[in-house]
């Protein structure tokens, strides 16, 4: 066997009700770049959290052997002490502090009397910056740097801790091509210095270019570890392994009778609210009455951003594009106008953006349709309760009464409250963002049944999801989204998980 710097043996991690990781095994050779691939929710991040001690020893089963020693980390400090540093997708830098201050945050260079020796700190930081190829003064505030340069500061910070194993979670997701290329070059450079890297990425071309081995994780289990030097290994094979999930969830059957076009979005282009980059780039799609259209995209592809910006421009800065309802252009500049135009958007994170968790079902149910339940500004509490009761019955929300507090319901029932709330606005098109994330199989089936009832009643439905079997199971047509661009569309009869994943991971250069 090769010299393994890290072995994770039979890791199993259970959350209440969910088995996130089941008997996962990972072996990383010393000095290599090891990639981990998998769909959203496959368990990649959970595995890295187990490794870095975010989930301390004892909360999982299995064994971690690092550098020849069995480890039981009880926190990030322990794992960093051993030489494992993780750089998360959301960078953990303090924007108002300088580069040097950030690099030595928590491990300050102390001089006499325990005071910080800034000359020493800045000098060392300068040395580290040269190593990562960042031409900035150590005293520059981090907040003034672009995302790409901030990423380099994170790596410099990792180097300052004598890192042996560097874990990068989606390091290039927010970077442009030049910055990505520089970062990948840097990872290669670290490899030459003997630093082992684990890189989690959706960009399979990058993995193909940089990784020595690739481990594929699916549904919380290791599928296979591929040797990238093997000529038979290519991107297509990785995709097959990523998506090769059996269609074991069941979908209610539905006859498809698409009618007239309800919603059409043309050339929709949106800029990030604070950074100068396009999050949605000339995206066009349409959906018909009685049709379920899927939008497939991986995390960071711009799915939620696309939906939210169409829904009354509630995300980012509008750049360009037009929205049509029944062929007539509508300009919905805020959420109220979007609702009036007949658009409903059920958010991805229902706890954070969808529901008032401290309030009851009835009041959440009516939150978006108060004008329908009130006369001259007075809410008719009885009509409201009646509407909630109807919602509870038709959605089969399991709660003792409509006065039950929403925060105490299960995820599936919360999602039904969200759907009931949006149906009360009597929309023509419903955009459902990850409608079944985090809910159990039985409740998923119920949600699919509700979607089917909606389209049977002539509504148009757009489902955003990263679960390909789900899209294949319930949609009539599927669009793929990658880096803010629509990279393809096909009727579900022609779609396969492999075809979709290929389009979902397609990068700019390869598009038409």
């Amino acid at each position: 066997m090769a010299d393994h710097i890290l072995e994770m043996r039979s890791i199993t991690k259970t959350f209440p009700g969910v088995k996130a990781l089941s008997d996962v095994t990972l072996a990383v050779s010393r000095g290599e770049v090891h990639a981990i691939c998998g769909e959203n929710g496959a368990g990649k991040s959970t595995l890295m959290k187990v490794l870095s001690g975010v989930y301390p020893a004892g909360e999982y089963e299995g064994e971690i052997v690092f550098d020849g020693q069995v480890c039981s980390f009880s926190g990030i400090r322990d794992s960093e002490h051993a030489g494992i540093v993780i750089i998360h997708q959301e960078l953990a830098l303090v924007p108002y502090l300088s580069i040097a201050e950030n690099i030595f945050l928590g491990s300050e260079k102390r001089g006499r009397f325990g005071l910080i020796d800034w000359n020493l700190a800045n000098a060392e930081a300068g040395k580290l910056l040269r190593e990562v190829g960042l031409d900035e003064s150590p005293t520059t505030p981090v907040g003034t740097l672009g995302v790409g340069k901030q990423q380099l500061v994170e790596i410099a910070k990792a180097l300052s801790k004598d890192v042996k194993l560097l874990i990068l979670d989606e390091p290039t997701a927010a970077l442009n091509d030049t910055d990505s290329a520089h970062l990948l070059g840097l990872i290669r450079g670290l490899k030459d210095r003997g630093i082992t890297s684990i890189i989690i990425s959706h960009k399979l071309n990058e993995i193909d270019a940089i990784a020595d081995h690739t481990t594929i994780i699916r549904d919380g289990q290791t599928v296979e570890t591929l040797d990238m030097a093997d000529p038979t290994v290519d991107v297509d094979r990785i995709i097959r392994l990523m998506v090769g999930r059996a269609l074991d969830s069941y979908y209610p059957e539905r006859e498809s009778h698409p009618g007239e076009e309800v919603l059409r979005v043309e050339d929709w282009t949106v800029k990030h609210p604070s950074q100068d980059r396009l999050v949605v780039d000339h995206a066009s799609f349409d959906v018909r009455a009685g049709e379920v259209v899927g939008i497939a995209g991986l995390m960071g592809a711009g799915r939620t951003e696309l939906a939210m910006s169409v829904f009354g421009r509630s995300y980012g800065t509008y750049v360009d594009g037009r929205v049509f309802m029944y062929g007539k252009e509508v300009k919905a500049r805020n959420v109220a106008e979007a609702i009036d135009a007949g658009i409903a958007y059920a958010t991805e994170d229902r706890k954070k953006y969808g529901l008032n968790l401290i309030d009851d079902i009835a009041r959440n149910n009516s939150a978006a349709a108060l004008d329908k339940l009130s006369t001259r500004g007075f809410v008719d509490a009885n009509e409201e309760a009646k509407a909630a009761e109807e919602g509870r019955r038709s959605m089969n929300i399991k709660a003792p009464t409509v006065k039950s507090i929403v925060g105490k319901l299960s995820g599936g029932n919360q999602q039904k409250v969200v759907l009931s709330k949006w149906l009360l606005t009597d929309p023509d098109v419903l955009i459902l963002d990850e409608p079944t994330r985090g809910i159990d199989v039985g409740a998923k089936y119920e949600i699919y049944t509700i979607i089917n009832k909606l389209v049977a009643a002539g509504k148009a439905v757009v489902v955003i999801s990263s679960e390909l079997p789900e899209l294949l199971g319930i949609c009539d047509r599927v669009y793929t989204l990658s880096a803010g661009r629509i990279t393809g569309q096909m009727p579900v009869a022609e779609a396969t998980q492999e075809r979709l994943m290929t389009l979902m991971t397609q990068e700019k250069e390869l598009v038409g």
Binding site: Y250, P252, Y353, I358, A367, V379, P400, A443
Partner: protein
């Protein structure tokens, strides 16, 4: 559920059995709830009423009944009315997740404007009142503009307002106190309606007004109950319903009798009662009130539900400015003049009333009635300690501890609710 069922119906079957586990009474739609359920479910809100009863009883015993004497009850109403008026606006601000530190200064400046017009320029009393209210509305719009449309945290905006309007008060008054008001003006806060129907050692008119109010309360409660039954909703059992009305009527009439045997019906109590009723309806029954709770409960969800957050926030502060002006009129009337230091630290009393009355620090929770009881609780406590001759320093410390414990109770409750999730 008439849709074609797919290859397996297993998920459907399991969900049906789960539904059966849920309380059967609720499934029928109509049912009744008992006292214990009411109390335990709403411990957060009912806790304050229990605490209030305990505090009233405690001081009645400690002062040998003096605290419940007719004269003293009238005094409490007169003394704390302006704090209660401020607390109505404050609880709405707090429900929406903001705070207002400026109300003490606004009380001062509105009273000063009124005093300058009425005392210095010999205008009639109502000119002073209208000018004060207009000033309050403008100040509220000023705060609302900065909070809602510029996006500066209310803490900062109103802290600035506190300094700004204290300074403006000094400007308006030329650094001197103005007094006295005309007798019409001072009646607002210290006048009584009595003797209209005569009486035998007590004021019959006061009793009549309260009697009518209690009857109206009973009728409206009954009509609400009928409507709820027609819509098939859960209502308390009938004996419980009657008991609730009888208890409320008894407490209110006892209170009325004490007022009647003292000086009659204070005018300021009529103002306060009208405000409590109006704002009770605004917070509970209107779209605006609902949106205030939605913003405080989950700002992002409210925005994505089409609530025009900026406009709602703006009007919340306009309203606070208005109520601060009402309090300013009442306070200047009661103190029979305007002083540069008027209203100092009133904001803290109003904030304390809202929090003791069950409003949550994080927003989204609170009621007008709760804030009133919270304010009265502090009032009864301070008054009782004064009657007992407790030192000012001890009084302040007791008030501080009560506020701290009330919010600690709220935080504890929330944590418990969170872990049960």
């Amino acid at each position: 559920m008439t849709q074609t069922v797919g290859p397996t119906s297993e998920p459907e079957a399991s969900s049906a059995t789960q539904a059966k586990d849920v309380a059967p009474a609720a499934a029928l739609g109509v049912g009744t709830s008992d006292v214990r359920a009411l109390l335990t479910r709403n411990l957060r809100t009912s806790g304050i009423y229990i605490a209030f009863v305990v505090v009233v009883a405690l001081f009645a015993i400690l002062t040998g009944g003096t605290s419940l004497s007719p004269g003293n009850i009238t005094n409490i109403v007169l003394q704390y009315s302006y704090i209660l008026i401020l607390a109505i606006g404050m609880v709405i601000v707090i429900i929406a997740g903001h705070i207002d530190l400026s109300v003490g200064s606004v009380v001062a400046v509105t009273g000063a404007v009124s005093a300058v017009l009425v005392i210095r320029q010999d205008q009639p009393w109502w000119v002073g009142v209208l000018a004060a209210l207009a000033t309050g509305l403008l100040i509220g719009a000023w705060h609302g503009f900065w909070v809602a449309y510029v996006g500066i945290p209310a803490f900062i905006v109103t802290l600035a307002g506190m300094l700004l309007f204290r300074g403006l008060t000094l400007q308006v008054l030329d650094n001197v106190s103005l007094s006295p008001f005309t007798s019409e003006y001072s009646k607002i806060a210290s006048g009584f309606l009595n003797g209209l129907l005569g009486g035998n050692g007590f004021d019959a008119f006061t009793l009549l007004v309260f009697g009518v109010a209690v009857a109206a309360y009973a009728v409206s409660q009954y009509r609400t109950r009928i409507a709820r039954v027609r819509y098939g909703q859960t209502v308390p059992s009938f004996p419980l319903f009657v008991a609730q009305i009888v208890i409320v009527a008894a407490v209110v009439m006892a209170f009325a009798y004490q007022l009647a045997t003292a000086r009659g019906l204070p005018i300021v109590l009529i103002i306060l009662a009208a405000l409590i009723m109006v704002y009770g309806v605004v917070t509970k029954r209107t779209v605006f009130g609902r949106q205030v709770y939605a913003i405080g409960g989950n700002l992002a969800a409210a925005t994505l539900s089409g609530v025009k957050v900026k406009a709602v926030n703006f009007w919340i502060f306009v309203n606070m400015g208005f109520l601060a002006a009402v309090a300013g009129v009442v306070f200047s009337s009661r103190s029979n003049g305007a002083q540069p230091g008027a209203g100092n630290s009133f904001e803290l009393d109003a904030i304390a009333a809202a929090f003791i009355g069950g409003a949550a620090v994080t927003g989204g929770v609170g009621t007008v009635v709760g804030a009133m009881v919270g304010g009265l609780l502090v009032g009864v406590m301070s008054n009782g300690m004064q009657l007992m001759g407790v030192d000012q320093s001890i009084q302040s410390m007791v008030k501080g501890m009560v506020l701290l414990l009330a919010v600690a109770f709220d935080v504890y409750n929330k944590r418990r609710a969170g872990s049960a999730r």
